[in-house]
């Protein structure tokens, strides 16, 4: 067996409990130093969008307001993603340290963890850890409190502005942007909202300095990334790997030897067929060569026994249900895409109808209000283009 091209890293899940030391050290440093460390580490948002974390904190710190919030987005709902659950179960203290340091920098007294309803079983354990953490904050004289806010089963609430709406008691319908959360987030106040994994990474950066993080990865994509691996793999699970790997190497390490496609980034991500494995690099878009794919870390492997029509059908079912219904392109578009592929499959529409559906998907990318509707085209077009015959026959 000639396996293991990819080195397994152990930054996030490393069992280290020097919370007090890290926090004490960080709280004593000037805000600018901390922000510079974050910026020079190259850390970008790990929820999938990839906004530079240091810049987000800096922008929010520069806004004048007597009320600011730090929110940890734990509404992990993307199909094929389960890393945040694991981070919150095994190293929640790292997330809390990230939140507290952020609070000190931007001047916030209140933080929330927005925990998806499906993860409610984590709440009792988290509450205990938060309780201990509050005692530590008191010792260190940081006026900051963290609360858990429970979601209630809505994928769209992972979208940051929908999440604020949800916390404000409303339907989880995304807002127009701008204004961005850095200026107007929860309750209309400046808010830093970060993914669970992003916050956990800041712990390592404050502990080891930015160099160790920056030395990992390639070009615009620095550091390590936690991947959720599922589907047709003998070793499903959570793996911390370096950015910049090709899908070919990934599949050789994790596939069952028969992988015909990998869905990168969940239902809202891209489907890559076998012939493109060696040209596809996992990282944020930027100066990477070849096709590079940003990702929240969801990697679903499909082998040749799987019908890609069924896969796409499943994704579209998902989007039809999870579309918030606020804007027409997404509400109607998702339903029409689903009806459309069913009609082609049944022979009620000619195969050329798929081109029309692709046009519709592209129109959604341009006109939908938020990332949900815009990203339906990602999986739709990449599956239909690469597996057209499976859509028809």
């Amino acid at each position: 067996m000639n396996k293991k091209h990819l080195q397994r890293l152990d930054l996030i899940f490393k069992n280290e409990h020097d919370t007090e030391k890290i926090l004490e050290k960080a709280l004593a440093r000037p805000d600018d130093d901390l922000i510079n460390d974050l910026i020079s580490s190259g850390l970008k948002g790990r929820g999938g969008a990839g906004f530079p974390t240091g810049l987000k904190w800096k922008l929010t710190s520069e806004v004048e307001s007597d009320e600011k919030y730090v929110i940890c987005n734990a509404d992990e709902g993307e199909p094929g993603t389960f890393k945040d659950r694991e981070i919150l179960s095994s190293v929640p203290h790292k997330v809390l340290v990230g939140m507290a340091v952020c609070a000190k920098i931007i001047g916030s007294r209140k933080g929330y963890i927005y925990l998806r309803g499906e993860y409610k079983f984590l709440k009792p354990q988290l509450l205990k850890i938060i309780d201990d953490f509050h005692k530590l904050l008191d010792q260190l004289n940081l006026d900051f409190r963290v609360e858990i806010f429970m979601g209630s089963g809505a994928y769209i609430c992972g979208e940051e502005s929908a999440l604020f709406e949800s916390m404000e008691g409303k339907r989880g319908e995304p807002r127009n942007k701008p204004p961005f959360p850095t200026n107007s987030g929860y309750r209309g106040k400046p808010t830093v909202i970060n993914n669970v994994e992003t916050l956990a990474h800041t712990y390592s950066i404050f502990k080891y300095g930015p160099e160790k993080f920056r030395d990992l990865g390639v070009q615009d994509s620095r550091g390590s990334k936690v991947f959720s691996v599922s589907g047709d793999t003998p070793i499903p699970g959570i793996y911390e790997l370096e950015f910049g790997m090709t899908l070919q190497k990934f599949v050789e390490d994790f596939g069952d030897g028969d992988a015909k496609a990998v869905q990168v980034g969940g239902a809202s991500g891209f489907c890559v067929p076998r012939k493109k494995f060696d040209k596809t690099v996992i990282g944020y878009q930027g100066k990477l060569t070849g096709a590079s794919l940003p990702t929240g870390g969801s990697m679903m492997i499909f082998n040749s026994s799987r019908s890609m029509y069924n896969v796409l059908h499943n994704y579209l079912d998902f989007f039809v249900e999870e579309s918030c219904g606020q804007c027409t392109p997404c509400r109607v578009g998702t339903q029409q895409l689903l009806l459309g592929i069913q009609a082609v499959k049944k022979g009620e529409q000619p195969s050329s109808y798929l081109d029309k559906l692709m046009e519709l998907a592209e129109a959604m990318r341009v006109t939908a209000k938020c990332g949900l509707g815009q990203s339906v085209a990602n999986s739709f077009s990449s599956i239909v283009e690469n597996f057209k015959e499976e859509m028809i026959y």
């Binding site: 709902g77 979601g151 599922s230």
Partner: protein, 159 residues
């Protein structure tokens, strides 16, 4: 004061009477009553001094909140892609057999409701389901029978 009124009042005392309290209050009602009745929604609107339509809007948006009564134990089987690939349909079939209900229905004794749900975040251990808040993973038809049996036994002892 009716039971629901009292419950809403208690929840409002606990979570506050701001818009920010609405979701926690609705979640509290759902947990206690297994659904949010019209009476409860009107009562929440009164306590928070907002329109009942607003409460209804929020209560009907979220897939974990219901306006029709559910069973004491709500079974949510993940139907998203990897759980489907790993045999979700057999799990549903087995549950339908054991509980003698169809997907979406509640057993006659009002104990179990069987439904599907979107990704539970247990993709590496599919098929997966939640029974109320508790996740069960790597399900097989045998495992599902045992789990339901366990719940039924507990119910018998409780009565």
């Amino acid at each position: 004061m009716s039971e629901v009124k009292q419950l809403v009042k208690d929840l409002a005392e606990e979570h506050g009477r701001e818009m920010e309290s609405l979701l926690p209050i609705l979640q509290g009602i759902e947990t206690r009553e297994q659904h949010i009745s019209q009476e409860a929604m009107v009562e929440v609107a009164r306590e928070l001094n907002i329109s009942a339509a607003k409460v209804y809007g929020t209560a009907t948006f979220y897939s974990f909140l219901h306006t029709k009564p559910l069973g004491k134990y709500v079974i949510r089987v993940c139907k998203t892609i990897t759980c489907m690939m790993h045999g979700k349909n057999q799990i549903i079939k087995e549950l339908e057999n054991v509980l003698k209900v169809e997907l979406g229905d509640t057993t006659h004794d009002g104990k179990f409701t069987l439904m599907e749900t979107n990704c539970l975040g247990q993709c590496h251990k599919g098929p997966a389901m939640l029974i109320n808040d508790t996740p069960y993973t790597e399900l097989t038809p045998e495992k599902v029978r045992d789990i339901i049996m366990q719940y039924r036994n507990e119910e018998m002892h409780a009565n």
